[in-house]
Amino acid sequence: MKTLTFKPGGLHLEGFKRKTENLPIENMYDPPKVVIPLLQHTGLPAVPNVKVGDHVKIGQKIGDAQSDFSVPVHSSISGEVIAVNSYAITIKNDNMSEWFMLNTESKNLYEKEELLKEIKESGIVGLGGACFPTHIKLNPPPDAKIDTLIINGAECEPYLTCDYRLMLEEGELIFDGIEIVEKILNPKNIYIGIEENKKNAIIKLRDLGNNRKSKVEIVALKEKYPQGAEKQLIYAITGRKVPVGKLPFNVGVVVHNVGTIHAIAGAINLKKALIERVITVSGDCISEPKNLRVKIGTTLEDVVNKCGGFTEEPSKIIFGGPMMGVTQSTLDVPIVKGTSGVVFLKNIPLTEEGNCIRCGKCIVSCPSGLMPVRIMECSKNNEFDNAEKYFATSCIECGLCSYICPSKIEILSYIRNAKVEITKRRKRK
């Protein structure tokens, strides 16, 4: 298979995807309660429009977007609101599974503005993990000439297979979603980029595309992390380099994750707000790894129970993949819109940081073409102006430098520190 990829840097990682890649998406039961955070996206938090004691239905809006750079949140179950605070709304399930009735008359007849409004009102954000409000990404400044839409099905993080299963099982909805986005952006070229290790998804979507006479081109990508990073994906597929400090629309490209596109189809065609998503539950100590469709706000504890509990107590719980995911301190946390998976790991080797031996592996593998070791040194010495000279702010935090370091130095942590300091200083100026 002819595959495309990016340069510089990147690394083939052990995938650990076999655990779940052949498991069909399973629907999880509605949990006894959900906790719906008001800020599950980049931007301003939603403002609750319900109060304790209110009865809500599935898909009912319970928090309003407070500005354009914000999205609303919806109840994912039917039941009673039992707590509202400035962070989250908790709802107790009444097991009635009542749906909130939406206006269902006009189907597929929307204009661009209406579509964008509907997408926003459905609470859709980037489901790849960044959670950027989708309606903003779909509405680039008027002077940006968008000619290319890329659907990101790379799924380059180890363990995660939820996008793969979605492409394999619900490809029609992905094409429906693409048609909707096509109406909004009117791009000349549309690609779905998929890493070659997901061969079945590539074949499946190519077949679907042929049947639908779609102009969408399915592109096989090399299995190389971070193939799904936005700028790297754009370069692999179009050969365009997004300049430092610029965004994809500056080179005429908009990128959306397959999960997001799927959710757009759900919102527009099926009138379903974003109340559930597919997550991969995996790792080395969960009894039954699964690809699970869960209601937003389901607590992790319920998910673990659904997956048969642990074979051994995990030492780390990661929301997202092991390269860029965020650890959780407790099982009492809700699954949110941006949770692409939950990875449970035991036996995390606590390695002591050794001396840098200047092997340069962090430099060779950096997809942003940086010198991570240099930024680390600057950061250690509090020389943040120097860190800036080494383009610390171009770091995409893919984690390869820390991953590859033979001395087990947490290079990325030092770079993050430098980035924070640089941003602070810029604000002060």
Binding site: P158, K231, Y235, K241, V242, P243, V244, P314, S315, K316, I317, I318, P322, M323, M324, G325, V326, T327, S329, T330, L331, V343, L345, I348, P349, G354, N355, C356, I357, R358, C359, G360, K361, I363, V364, P367, S368, G369, L370, M371, V373, R374, K389, Y390, F391, S394, E397, G399, L400, S402, Y403, I404, C405, P406, S407, K408, E410, L412, S413, R416
Partner: protein, 324 residues
Amino acid sequence: MSEFIISSSPHIKSKITTKYLMNSVIIALLPALVAAIVMFGYQYVLPVVLLSVISAVLSEALFQKLFGLKLTFLDGSAALTGLLLALCLPPRVPLWIPVLGSIFAMFSKQVFGGLGQNIFNPALMGRAFLLLSWPGIMTKWYAPFAGADAVTTATPLNIYKFEGLEKLISLFGGDIFSTYKHLFLGLKGGSIGEVFIPALLLGLIYLLIKGVISWHIPVSYIVSCLVFSYLFGLNPIITILTGGILFGAFFMATDYVTSPILAESKLIYGFSIGFLNIIIRKFGGMPEGVTFAILIMNMLVPLLDKQIRKPFGFIKEKKVQSEK
């Protein structure tokens, strides 16, 4: 329910460790060691190598203790230094030579702060120290397969430098190709590990395939030697097949700590070493030159490392904007 670890990403680490890398280089040197045992005799090779390795490890431990540094003497780097030093000593040196050499090598490393901090390649520092202190012992060569009653011999490098190409060819079968063959197969006087070139190539290929080193330094070093030896009227093939150029290019100049970190700088570094090496061979008092060529360039590494790599998507016009 127990506590879960909170940490920032990434949450998985590659299996590659410092120890793994050091051990890889040690493995890459094993063919050369085996060849040396076969050619010079185990009784002349193994004691030197073992003493060198053991004293390197022990003296690293000692200096780390003395200087109050973290004890990391078992990470393979000291053992590697000991092995490298032993392999670039002449066969049949008195046994206190590798011991003193290793102690000095480790001192030169720890005095800068240990692994990763040292400016000079420790093994070459050990060798340079021995060469300057006991030049007689360090330039007493024996031919391979010489047996117990061997007499010292001149290295082809010496013959080439002081007696000329004709003489060298006459010693190695009379024509130039048989000379190349003899030199390639190591039928010549020389340091323990440097004579049998197929073993060195095997080690290099192993390191390249394993991704332990990149091609930049060995290739630029050797190309530079070929170019400058040709320009200075030396036979390029004989130049790289004699002395320690290949050993130095594969295993010494590629030392992570004392070589530049960026690919472009590595090319400049390798090319400069080759140039200095040929200058020393052509115009210097010594026939060799690998040791000092590399040590001199070690000093310039911080300068070469000043270069800042341009990130992905970097465009120059950014500068114009910021000047507004």
